[in-house]
């Protein structure tokens, strides 16, 4: 039951970020972007695809962390506890997705360049961070940085 709750929590956070992608698209729709040779519709479709990939990879990384922490790591000694390095390593999955997004989605030439970057980072990193912050297995519940202050169950 506890695992189901955490799985649903991770799914909830991931779905939340899927909705966020639509908000980002709406934001770009209402704030014109100066693009090069690419049409705005094509660019938005490309952004949407890569934003979903970032969110999906983050969700996958969150589940991977949960699975590893719950069933992969056995805490029989103090040395086995924590595993923050593993949590950080899994961050590289969304980071990789962000890098690919940056490569494959044409960057805005002006105006919204900053927002574009921010959205990539949010889609990729924040969803992994929040999903693991709130829904890590209890034996590793404070491993995500700052979890001690935000998780109270």
């Amino acid at each position: 039951m506890k695992h189901v709750g955490c799985f649903l929590g991770i799914v909830f956070v991931t779905v939340l970020f899927v909705f966020l992608v639509y908000l980002e698209l709406w934001y770009f729709d209402t704030n014109p972007i100066e693009l090069g040779n690419v049409k705005e519709d094509q660019w938005l479709a490309s952004f949407q695809r890569w934003a979903f990939i970032c969110v999906g990879v983050s969700g996958f990384a969150s589940f991977l962390w949960y699975g590893l922490a719950q069933w992969g790591f056995k805490i029989n000694r103090w040395e086995d506890a924590g595993k923050r390095s593993w949590w950080i390593i899994l961050f590289f999955l969304p980071i990789l997705a962000i890098i690919l997004s940056v490569i494959f989605v044409e960057r805005a030439k002006s105006g919204l360049r900053f927002e574009q970057w921010i959205f990539f980072l949010i889609n990729g990193l924040l969803s992994y961070y929040l999903a693991t912050l709130w829904f890590s297995p209890s034996a590793f519940k404070y491993t995500p940085a700052g979890a001690k202050y935000f998780r109270h169950w």
Binding site: I75, R77, W78, K148
Partner: protein, 484 residues
């Protein structure tokens, strides 16, 4: 209701040592337990070890606010001082003690000569009565005074003030010196002066000395144990010496364990033995039920037996429930001590040295950090000492038996090892096994737990033990998570 247990001699002290551990595991009925050791041998190693265990228990029980739980449930109140000796500061010989020179030519002196050999008269008694109850009985009868002696008068006052009716339990061996002489003598004096329910564990031979050489010395000799026992039992029977008791429990073991033959003092430090666990269970049984039956006033004698003469299992332990009470209780305490020593105490030390690592132990954040509770090294150290005492005692209960017997209670190799001299010692915590699930043999599936699962339970336990406080809250959660 107050319970009073008096350990007479080295064996009696070892019985109380087992009783302390049973109290720690929550096996005693509700009420305070008062303890007193009786031994002329001030430096007796077995008694000293029991005294250390008692001191650690009392410190833990006093300082930990554990709330309502089985762990350290019983308040143990040691007598002040905890050890009563019939001698003052001097270590007299028997003839000095009775001022033999002043009456040697009288008929009483002649009788004295008949009753005691030259060696018995002249040996000093600082290391006990050396297996000679004839010496001990005379000394005990002369010195145990419930009114004049401060230790005894204090005990007497406490018992007299107990409105609900106190129960007094004596434990000692029948085949040695101190126990054999004190068991009937002290019982008679207590019964004559106080209205109490009186129970006793009388230990028949269950060990023998490896080397009984040096025949010249006046000391206990295991060749004489059976004969001493036979004579003593016959004496008790003929003179109705156990008649003062409401309940008497007798124990012995045919397959006697080898122990070093020490004259006395610190060298007489015999490892705990399962017979002493039986005696402690007898005390628990007496405190719980004893004295409530036998309306005709007759003394109750109890009998128990093992299913297999050469094998001891949990189901053989008399707890009135086919071992199903004693196994879970001792098992839970053992898992608690094991987990505390191998994982939780070292973790607390690491966090004390490097507080930014606290996130690695969510239970630490929940029980300590969020409650602004600092790591009390002294208190945690005392808990560590008690856990050491408990696990070593349990390892000996399992491992200290004759080659003819098999004991199937625990797997002590998970945390203890045999040294070159044959004694058992705890491994260092980092060498404890990772497998906690097989520590207790024949346990129910629900009692089995692995360290990893325990860690997870601890991380979900911040609401456990609402009536416990401070570090007690954490230890209570650890203890309860080690149960079913």
């Amino acid at each position: 209701m107050g319970y009073y247990a008096i350990g007479i001699g080295g064996t009696g002290a070892k019985c109380l040592e087992s009783l302390i551990h049973l109290a720690a595991a929550g096996m005693m009925p509700d009420g305070d337990l008062h303890l007193l050791f009786v031994d002329p041998d001030l430096a007796n190693g077995s008694r000293a070890r029991a005294g250390e265990t008692l001191a650690n228990y009392v410190k833990c029980e006093d300082q930990l606010k554990l709330g309502k739980t089985h762990l350290l449930k019983t308040k143990i109140i040691p007598a002040d001082p905890i050890l009563w000796t019939p001698f003052d500061t001097t270590n007299p010989s028997l003839k000095q003690f009775f001022h033999y020179e002043s009456f040697r030519d009288s008929p009483a002196g002649k009788l004295f000569d008949v009753l005691y050999s030259k060696a018995e008269k002249e040996s000093t008694l600082e290391e006990g009565f050396r297996g000679h109850p004839s010496i001990g009985s005379a000394v005990m009868a002369k010195t145990v005074n419930l009114k004049a002696n401060p230790t005894w008068s204090q005990l007497r006052a406490k018992i007299a003030a107990d409105d609900e009716g106190a129960k007094v339990f004596l434990a000692g061996s029948i085949f040695g010196g101190t126990g054999a002489s004190g068991f009937p003598t002290i019982a008679q004096i207590v019964k004559d002066e106080l209205d109490v329910k009186l129970g006793g564990a009388l230990l028949l031979p269950y060990f023998k000395f490896m080397d009984d050489g040096d025949e010249d010395k006046l000391k206990a000799k295991s060749d004489e144990f059976l004969m001493n026992t036979q004579t003593a039992l016959k004496h008790y029977h003929l003179w109705g010496k156990t008649g003062v008791y409401d309940a008497v429990y007798l124990f012995g073991d045919e397959s006697r364990t080898d122990v070093e033959n020490a004259l006395g003092g610190s060298e007489q430090k015999n490892a705990p033995h399962f017979i002493e666990l039986y005696a402690a269970l007898a005390a628990v049984d007496f405190f719980r039920f004893g004295g409530d039956f036998g309306p005709d006033g007759s003394v109750q004698y109890f009998m128990t037996a093992r299913q297999d003469n050469n094998c001891l299992k949990w189901t053989d332990l008399p707890d009135g429930n086919n071992g199903d009470t004693v196994r879970p209780r001792i098992g839970q305490m053992a898992r608690f001590a094991f987990a505390y020593l191998s994982v939780y105490h070292p973790a607390l030390q690491k966090i004390a040295n490097r507080s930014k690592d606290a996130y690695r132990a969510p239970w630490f954040v929940d029980f300590f950090e969020r409650r602004n509770l600092s790591i009390n090294q002294a208190l945690l150290g005392t808990v560590e000492k008690y856990c050491n005492d408990f696990l070593l005692w349990l390892a000996n209960i399992q491992g200290n038996c004759s080659d003819m017997e098999t004991i199937e209670l625990i797997e002590y190799s998970a945390y203890a090892e045999r040294k070159a001299d044959g004694s058992l010692a705890l491994k260092s915590p980092e060498n404890f096994s990772n497998d906690l699930s097989h520590l207790i043999r024949d346990q129910a599936e629900a009692e089995s737990i692995v360290l990893d699962e325990l860690w997870e339970r601890m991380c979900n336990s911040r609401r456990k033990g609402r009536d416990a406080q401070d570090i007690g809250k954490f230890l209570r959660a650890l203890y309860e998570n080690c149960g079913e």
